[in-house]
Amino acid sequence: MHISTDIWIWIAAILTLCIYSFLYKDNPFYKFAEHLLVGVSAGYFFVIYFWNLVVPNLLTPLKNGFGTLFSGGGFTGDLAALVPGILGLIILTRLIPKIAWMSRWAIGFYFGAFQGLTITGYMQAYILAQIYGTFMKGNNPVFSVALIGSFFSDPGWGKILLAVSGPLMILGVICTLTYFFFSKEHKGFVGGVAKIGIVFLMIGFGASFGYTVMARVSLLIGRLQFLLRDWLGVIS
């Protein structure tokens, strides 16, 4: 066991244990660590935004643009950064209640733009490609008569899965979509199809839950690896 002598490892370990103390019950150590995290994170984001965004994308082009302008070089494309710069400052008026209404101009600008990008991007990725993929895998049909035929000519567990999986997937997509179609009452034939959709949804959510357990446990493993290895030196 080689306990670390690095002060920062000790600080990290103590803060980790402060957060874990919440498992016993809410306490001042946890609250202290939580608020410190909120503060440090907010400051971190501000600094990153400044050095990674404001400086290279706004201040540097404006500096170059005004430098060229005042040295007699005339207007350059760099000065166009003034427009988004002003729009950005207008967003900050949201902090002043009397003129907060002005921020709507800038919000309308970026909100409208992103909605426009969403229409084409999502149509391709979420709808067209997914519908195509439901019936075709590359250039081959998902519902393959050849695969079904090969099962009957040479039966086996592997063959049945191969033959059934494709049609099962098509059925699953159609039934799931039917379940989410609330404009028609889920009765009779539609109700039956929706019920099959629920079966697929439950299997999907079950798979997600299984993976969720995996994810949460992995996060715990990572933290305990830090405590046991970097702090206490119990594992290599």
Binding site: A13, F32, W51, L53, P84, L87, G88, G116, G172, T176
Partner: protein, 207 residues
């Protein structure tokens, strides 16, 4: 004009960004490039606004001595420490700012989320009941995936990970695809409503 002008700007920007996708002309591409540049700059300030609101909230808590105001001092101290180190010494790999990030922010943020591992184990015991056929299906699928995605092949054989992979590749994928198509349709219809000014909640309340 306090509501009409923003709606008009939203409409114009929405139409520009939708239509430019179909116009390969260099003027359309020039406009597209510049709009993307501007969007990045404008969004930066939108993010900074969030931080500004947080600082304002904690300062008000301290000023008016509201509940847990002492912890707000801790939060403001944290913000100040990050700002001073970040602007004073820069953001290079060995800077005080990055030391603060690596030894204060990362441990606490990662630990905060790792708490969920304990709660999920507790919830699994206390609340996951196979009361109905659907719930049983969910639990069976979850157990197969949980056991199939860890290295148990040496003990139980390959059938379990193969079954887990099949569940993920077919029934799970079918369900997720149905959800994805639904999300896509919902997102597009919401986008259209916003661009056309039918959905106006983003304007906020007031005049």
């Amino acid at each position: 004009m306090r509501r009409e002008l923003p709606l008009a700007i939203c409409f114009i920007m929405g139409i520009i960004m939708t239509v430019q996708f179909f116009i390969p002309h260099r003027h359309s591409q020039w406009l597209f490039d510049n709009m993307l540049k501007w969007l990045i700059i404008v969004l930066t300030f939108a993010m900074i606004l969030g931080i500004g609101n947080l600082v304002k909230l904690h300062i008000q808590k301290v000023q008016h001595r509201r509940r847990d105001w002492l912890y707000s001092i801790v939060a403001l101290f944290g913000i100040s420490a990050s700002l001073i180190t970040g602007f004073g010494w820069g953001i290079e790999a060995d800077s005080p700012f990055m030391v603060l990030f690596n030894y204060v922010q990362i441990p606490m943020q990662a630990t905060m989320f790792s708490l969920l591992a304990f709660y999920i184990a507790s919830a699994a015991f206390r609340t996951f009941r196979a009361r109905t056929v659907e719930a049983t299906l969910l639990l069976v699928a979850a157990v197969i995936v949980m056991l199939g995605r860890v290295p148990l092949e040496g003990i139980v054989g390959r059938w379990l990970p193969d079954l887990a992979e099949w569940i993920l590749d077919y029934p799970n994928m079918a369900a997720k695809r149905g959800i994805m198509i639904g999300i896509g349709l919902g997102a597009i219809s919401t986008a259209l409503k916003i661009i056309l000014g039918i959905e106006r909640s983003w304007l906020g309340g007031g005049d």
